[in-house]
Symmetry: C2
Subunit: 185 residues, 2 copies
Amino acid sequence: NVAHGLAWSFYLSYLHLVLPHLENSIAAFRATHQASSTWGCGSKKLLILVPLNANISHKLEDEDSNISFYDNLPNTEIDRAGVRGRVYKHSVYRVKDEQGKVRECVCEYATPLLTLYKMSHESRAGFGESERRQQVLLFFRTLQDILEHSLECRNRYKLITLNDEHEEDPHFLSKTILRHLQQQE
Amino acid sequence: NVAHGLAWSFYLSYLHLVLPHLENSIAAFRATHQASSTWGCGSKKLLILVPLNANISHKLEDEDSNISFYDNLPNTEIDRAGVRGRVYKHSVYRVKDEQGKVRECVCEYATPLLTLYKMSHESRAGFGESERRQQVLLFFRTLQDILEHSLECRNRYKLITLNDEHEEDPHFLSKTILRHLQQQE
Ligand SMILES: Nc1nc(=O)c2ncn([C@@H]3O[C@@H]4COP(=O)(O)O[C@H]5[C@@H](O)[C@H](n6cnc7c(N)ncnc76)O[C@@H]5COP(=O)(O)O[C@@H]3[C@@H]4O)c2[nH]1
């Protein structure tokens, strides 16, 4: 099952590596961005977006004009499988609510969904658009289960599913993110 | 099948993105390393190492003292799934033959094998050490098949399997790489 392997890969070769460094990266970022940052006591978690239709944007502001890219966290460099100093980084976004109040957060899509999306359009890959949603749900449930049992990742992430029924709302993404940020307080 | 999905992921979300840029990266590298580079008319391909036991080193020189890290190719930065300017890079290694002659090449392990290795040690992941070799072979065959049908990747890579029967030879890796480099001439 493709989604099962992609969820384990996402955990073992990415989240397991990067989440333990996240709090320090955010602290270093806030120290160098004091003049412009409105982070306050904001979230120290990585918000991982899981759109159920696997339709992923490369820039969050393309999805919702209430979201803007702020800056990247400092890079983490790790020697991996022969690549010297492979770079792992996360992007910080500013998300505005309907009153114009801005909150900052570290946010990205679950990258393996790009693979699921593209595989569903490659005839040689062996599954089509109708199975894709099932695979996305399997990816989400498997990842959720792995992360709940992971001591290194506990409290360092939030999985946010995005249901495509709301796609006509141009501010669906920002509202969803803000709702999850507020839940943490 | 885990290996099938990891091979597609490796192609769709990595090789398909980076191999078309490789020749330009190598040209830029040779321009800035003229004083020290012995590349000559060396390989313009990415050498992808596939150890059949999935046992991967993070630094090739740890495997064989006839190999040393030279430098990294210039970075490629691509906006991916909400991560702004995600960095893709490859490492250049110097490989010495038994007469001391040195050749340079761009070389790395097939990173998804790290996931296969780790999954085989996680009871929740659902496969053990005995199935791992089968999964590595499936990964190799699937990847080979995908790459042979890929116009963007044609002639830009070489898949090198490493059989663990030769592990007692301290220069097995350098000899294998050199043999593949010589085959290209
Ligand atoms: N958001 C995000 N930022 C990252 O830096 C990152 N690095 C990995 N991942 C995701 O974690 C999982 C495990 O990664 P792995 O390295 O084993 O496989 C990777 C790896 O074998 C190869 N690859 C991708 N980027 C690189 C890279 N920069 N250098 C070498 N190999 C790479 O192609 C596979 C698929 O990559 P993605 O489909 O982008 O998502 C990966 C994957 O789902 C990332 N996700």
